[in-house]
């Protein structure tokens, strides 16, 4: 198991296939769950005809998008038009290489020695995630510009301006978590939460709020979905896309939602740790595999995404930018200062 071939090719290849397969399946069924959850929130039934109780709906949707005709608008820039969905899905998938799903696992005893259940753990984990997910903005701008349509252009510009404006408070919220954690590596952040007996959402409740709101704005979801709202800009930057390219935009949006959910779970809620991880009294809960805790935390965040979508009206664009630049930025800066002050007081001034 320690030969270089195994270590560098076989094991990562198996993990990559597992991550991609599970991710694509989860993203496809996330579209189905979104429709069902939104429907029940709105006192109606979602899709329940295709397959038993509607469970084959995402398969039908995927098949439809695969065989649908692919129209390229006349006078559109063909190469950039083809490149834009690739530019948006590659970062959305690449981010998953560093997100930790559980700690060391033996896959229910199938393996002789435990292997880590993430692809790799680099020492700049969260920086890699933030940097790579910012590349997705390229895809949006290029997609909006390359389709020869004024709605797409304005939608793409607005969407890109919105994503870029909300990256700044998101960065500051992550900085306040790093103050408490002391490392950029995602696995180490979870370990610190276990050692400190405290999940980071308790002192960082404001950081959690800011991070989640910025996450909702980053993925262009309601209440920040002006660039893709149908009555406003007719689906914005992906108006002129059809067929598989549109499916790639869609996949990228849901994959980004899952990334934000996973990061909320890892940064603020202790990743794969069970509640009260060091309390002996609850040790009987250890029989539940840690992946279940991670998945349920991500699931709660995704439910809150859909809950927001079913409840709120959307922000007008200038209100949206005002919230990002005039409210969240000073609030997150103040949060960084307060948390730094709190750590200083706790560590240095209270001890002696």
């Amino acid at each position: 198991m320690d030969q270089p071939l195994y270590q560098f090719l076989i094991i990562p290849a198996v993990k990559i296939v597992a991550i991609l397969a599970v991710l694509l399946l989860v993203v496809a069924y996330l579209t189905f769950f979104e429709r069902k959850v939104l429907a029940y929130l709105q006192v109606r039934l979602g899709p329940n005809r295709v397959g038993p109780k509607g469970w084959l709906q995402p398969i039908a949707d995927a098949f439809k998008l695969l065989v649908k005709e692919d129209l390229i608008p006349s006078k559109a820039e063909r190469f950039v038009f083809l490149l834009a969905p690739c530019l948006i899905i590659v970062p959305a998938l690449l981010v998953w290489s560093v997100i930790p799903f559980t700690g060391e696992t033996t896959v229910f005893g199938l393996l002789s020695e435990p292997i880590p259940a993430y692809l790799t753990d680099i020492n700049i984990g969260i920086l890699f995630v933030l940097g790579v997910s910012s590349v997705g903005v390229f895809g949006i701008i290029l997609g909006g510009w390359a389709s020869n349509s004024k709605f797409s252009l304005m939608g793409g510009l607005r969407s890109a301006a919105q994503m870029v404006s909300y990256e700044v408070p998101m960065g500051f919220a992550v900085v306040s978590v790093l103050l408490m954690a002391g490392s950029l590596s995602l696995v180490r952040i979870v370990e610190v939460q276990r050692e400190a007996h405290m999940w980071f959402f308790l002192p960082g409740i404001l950081a959690l709020g800011i991070y989640f709101i910025c996450g909702v704005a980053e993925t262009n979801r309601n209440p920040f979905d002006l660039p893709e709202a149908e009555s406003e800009l007719v689906a914005g930057f992906h108006t002129e896309y059809s067929g598989m390219k549109f499916a790639l935009f869609f996949l990228a949006e849901y994959a980004n939602m899952l990334v934000i959910g996973s990061l909320v779970a890892v940064l603020f809620f202790g990743g794969w740790l069970r509640p009260f991880p060091n309390v002996e009294f609850l040790a009987f809960l250890d029989v539940i595999p840690p992946f279940f805790w991670f998945a349920s935390k991500v699931g709660v965040v995704i439910f809150i995404y859909m809950w927001f979508r079913g409840t709120f009206p959307r922000y007008r664009f200038d209100q949206l930018m005002a919230v990002g630049w005039k409210w969240l930025l000073p609030l997150s800066l103040a949060n960084v200062a307060v948390i730094a002050l709190g750590i200083l007081v706790k560590n240095h001034l209270l001890k002696g």
């Binding site: 029940y40 929130l41 109606r44 409840t311």
Partner: protein, 176 residues
């Protein structure tokens, strides 16, 4: 219009506790959560009607597909007076009249050809209102799907009343 009494409805500036809007946000979230939990875990109370297992009950005044009524001996009541064709705002009725040799003078005319183009029809019921013999009424059948346009032009054989009048799903008609 200068000395009209006015009421000042200005409530002053909105306090900041109202402007951040957190209260209504939480209440709105509570409403949708309550709907979600009730529909998923409690008594399912959705507004959806699961067609075709469950169909809506329509009123007896619904203007659906037309029926040409018959007398007791099976012949049409229609006397080809052209009232319905004249009254129709969509010009969808086509009638060609012929003479019935051995009928009494009240029924001396009958339709040789009576066609309604159901794709042109706007289902307004003017033909039912115009008919002096109660010869055309409307049923409650509204589910009509055609594979070709030619299937939508229906003649006497498809429009004629089949069986006793009580068996049809009657809709818009005079004196019901």
């Amino acid at each position: 219009m200068k000395n009209v009494a006015t009421v000042n409805v200005d409530r002053g500036p909105i306090p900041w506790t109202e402007r951040i809007y957190l209260g209504p946000i939480v209440r709105g979230l509570g409403v949708t959560l309550r709907h979600f939990l009730r529909n998923v875990f409690g008594k399912r109370d959705v507004a959806t009607i699961e067609w075709p297992e469950v169909k809506r009950q329509y009123s007896e005044r619904l203007r659906g597909r037309h029926i040409l009524t018959t007398k007791d001996d099976g012949s049409l009541r229609c006397v080809a007076c052209y009232m319905c064709e004249t009254a129709c705002p969509a010009n969808c009725i086509t009638i060609v009249a012929e003479e019935d040799p051995e009928a009494p003078v009240e029924w001396e005319k009958r339709p040789l050809l009576y066609e309604i183009d159901l794709l042109r029809c706007v289902f307004c019921g003017f033909c039912v209102d115009a008919c002096p013999k109660e010869a055309i009424i409307m049923s409650r059948q509204h589910e009509m799907a055609f594979s070709e346009r030619s299937e939508a032009v229906v003649g006497i054989e498809e429009l004629r009343q089949k069986g006793p009048i009580e068996d049809e799903d009657l809709g818009y008609r005079p004196y019901f």
